[in-house]
């Protein structure tokens, strides 16, 4: 797959506040790319620079081969931006909002396009009601429908599910996947790890103005120790016996009241089998046994925590 967005050493400060400290990443065509970070990490600033709304202080950025600073008109024609808050005109109806964007994008038949999108986004019943009367989920759908006009190659979604109820959030995920399956590259920012895990092919974690990790969800998880085992024993006796047997593994956590031990292993089946056989041959009873896989949340918190400690 070819690269559609290329960012290199991008920098931006607001007065003394250095928001982006030289970030670099590439986005592949046709996938779903997620920029993950806490509030104030610089996500919106990054999107605004790529969407030509703000100027960077340094570095380079290009979209579809066009330079984001010197070829802004070509960039604008290739993208659609859906801002952090649904940017629809509340006093216009859904249909009028779509016609407005259609006319501004100079498409041939804005009326027909509006009708088609209303149907596709399940807004036909509310088509002629003012957008201010829409629910949060409907506004978001209208917002995305507006973004699809003019066949953009890339859609930027700045926190598309912030403030939505769980049902609308899942509907939004389906929508994003569908757009992606039609070949549109999706660039989304979010602070929800669940969302990233669910949607993104490619994830970059932005923290304090730097990209601190970049890869697929699995690649990021591999950054953490794999195959943590949590073993719980029925009594103190088994717990202590087991502990001495496990002394060659590094112990991540132990709880003498719960009689449980967590150890780090390679996560390979052979190794786990050997551990369990060892208990069996020494007549150590087990109460419970679970394998803990690192979640993206662990990765995120570990990276951010690490960065924080590193900064001190």
């Amino acid at each position: 797959m070819s690269t559609i967005i290329s960012v290199s050493n991008l920098k931006k400060s607001y007065k003394d506040n250095e928001v982006l400290k030289g970030i670099s990443f590439d986005v592949k065509q046709g996938g779903i790319f997620a920029l993950l970070g806490s509030n104030g990490a610089g996500k919106t600033t990054t999107i605004n620079i790529l969407a030509t709304l703000q100027k960077a202080d340094g570095g380079e950025a290009s979209i579809c081969g066009y330079d984001c600073f010197s070829q802004q008109r070509d960039v604008k024609k290739s993208i659609s931006l859906t801002g952090q808050y649904a940017t629809v005109d509340g006093s216009l109806t859904g249909r009028e909002n779509l016609k407005l964007i259609g006319r501004l994008k100079h498409i041939k038949n804005p009326q027909e396009k509006a009708r088609e999108l209303l149907e596709k986004f399940n807004l036909t019943d509310a088509a002629d009601k003012p957008a201010s009367t829409y629910s949060g989920g409907m506004r978001r759908r209208l917002d995305i429908a507006m973004s699809l006009i003019g066949d953009p190659k890339i859609i930027f979604l700045d926190e598309p599910t912030t403030g939505l109820d769980p049902q609308s959030r899942i509907a939004m995920w389906e929508l994003v996947k569908e757009m992606s399956s039609q070949g549109i590259t999706i660039f989304l920012t979010t602070q929800y790890l669940e969302e990233v895990e669910h949607l993104a092919d490619d994830i970059a974690i932005l923290h304090e103005g730097k990209i601190v990790a970049h890869g697929t969800s699995d690649e990021l998880k591999e950054m953490l120790p794999q195959g943590m085992l949590k073993i719980t024993f029925p009594c103190l006796d088994s717990f202590l016996k087991a502990k001495s047997q496990l002394d060659r593994y590094s112990i991540a956590n132990e709880d003498e009241k719960e009689y449980s031990i967590s150890i780090l292993t390679s996560g390979k089946v052979d190794e786990i089998t050997n551990i369990l056989l060892g208990f069996k041959s020494n007549n150590i009873e087990l109460k419970n046994f679970e394998q803990l896989k690192p979640t993206l949340e662990d990765v995120f918190l570990t990276i951010i925590g690490y960065e924080k400690d590193g900064g001190k």
Binding site: K76, D89, S91, L104, H106, M146
Partner: protein, 254 residues
């Protein structure tokens, strides 16, 4: 260029839809002036010495000023809402000429202002407005009103772009509309305290009001009053235009 004109048309279409869908702002900008008109005509009309004028002919320019400022309020608030709620961000991420957004607002505000004056004049006939102007004088009146509407439109758009919230835009314009009471618009200035009289006779609304008043009563306006009107409101138009474009660009390039 062709696209710019298309975009201005589209933006005007949007502002026009907004104006039609929220007729309350047009109605409000008429209700207060019409009430003022009725109160002044029925309550003060008999007791005020205005030197032989028909009272409605005397009061109409002041009421008109109040009415036009009220009507510019919805423009300022509309611009401010667009600026602060993110729809401008959406427009800016599209390949649209930057002037289209402002031009759409200004065009529609201008049409709205002129329509408001037309309605106000229509209503004033019912309460005894008897203009004595001939055709050239009417054309002169319309020309001056157009200048005044344009200047106030840009003033409102400027406030909409610069101010942080719609409430402050509305508040500022409401305060500004009150200044018409400190002008020759509602009562003769001779009876005012000295300091107030100096302000009332020299503030920018004064020459506009006295010029219109002379014209509707069929007199040739005084040359210095016309000149002062053109200088004040032409100046305000140019300054607010420049300030708006500057502030708009500055707000957009963070």
């Amino acid at each position: 260029m062709q696209n710019t004109i298309k975009d201005i048309k589209t933006m005007s279409w949007r502002c026009m839809l907004n104006a039609i869908k929220t007729p309350d702002s047009l109605i409000m900008s008429l209700v207060v002036p019409v009430i003022l008109l009725l109160v002044f005509v029925n309550v003060f009309g008999g007791s005020m010495d205005i030197g032989g004028y028909n009272f409605v002919n005397f009061i109409i320019p002041g009421i008109m000023v109040n009415c036009l400022i009220q009507s510019s309020s919805s423009t300022g608030i509309g611009v401010n809402k667009d600026m602060t709620t993110g729809i401008v961000t959406r427009f800016r991420s599209m390949d649209i000429s930057n002037v289209a957004f402002l031009a759409g607002h200004v065009l529609v505000a201008f049409i709205k202002g002129m329509a408001t004056v037309a309605i106000l004049i229509g209503v004033s006939f019912l309460v005894g407005f008897r203009p004595l102007a001939d055709l050239p004088q009417w054309l002169f009146i319309i020309g001056l009103i157009m200048l005044f509407v344009m200047a106030n439109t840009w003033l409102a758009v400027m406030l909409g772009v610069m101010m942080k919230s719609a409430e402050s835009v509305g508040g500022f314009i409401a305060f500004y509309a009150v200044l018409v009471f400190l002008s020759p618009g509602m009562a003769p200035t001779e009876n005012m305290p000295r300091a107030l009289q100096i302000f009332a006779e020299n503030q920018p609304m004064a020459p506009f009001i006295t010029s219109i008043r002379s014209l509707v009563n069929g007199h040739a306006p005084q040359g210095d009053q016309v000149l002062a009107t053109l200088l004040w409101w032409g100046g305000i138009l140019i300054l607010t235009f420049i300030a708006t474009v500057y502030a708009y660009k500055k707000k957009l390039t963070v």
